[in-house]
Assembly symmetry: C2
Homo-oligomer: 78 residues x 2
């Protein structure tokens, strides 16, 4: 069974760059990738926070959040 | 031909966690991964800096640096 990977971003240049590189570099045979734009789906912000996300872009791998560079604080998106 | 991926770390818990998750989640059919411990190989710090690394853990994908969470500033390792 594949592990779940979720990439949260907000459409900023830092996010897009991280998405195109890191998220797309994940092994697709092992990870099922979801990409969520928090600027467009503000109802997902609470879900992201609950998983430990503090800023975007962020990648959740096996329920653990990793913050990649820094695009925007989650509090700036609400 | 595989792309080159380099993961720089310094052995701290934040680094180890990022390595075991993000670095090992990369698609091995597309990326050839090098893992470099800058605490043990201080002569590699200049090389990391030249690639834009400012803190560890960091991942270089296709010559672009991504800083993941924050373990230590490069200046603290020299």
């Amino acid at each position: 069974m594949k592990s779940k990977a979720t990439f949260y971003h907000a459409g900023c240049p830092v996010c897009i760059s991280a998405e195109q590189n890191i998220a797309q570099a994940l092994d697709p045979s092992r990870y099922e990738l979801s990409i969520i734009h928090l600027g467009e789906f503000k109802d997902k912000i609470a879900e992201a926070k609950a998983q430990g996300v503090q800023s975007v872009p962020a990648l959740i791998l096996d329920n653990q959040p990793f913050h990649i560079n820094f695009g925007a604080a989650l509090s700036d998106l609400a």
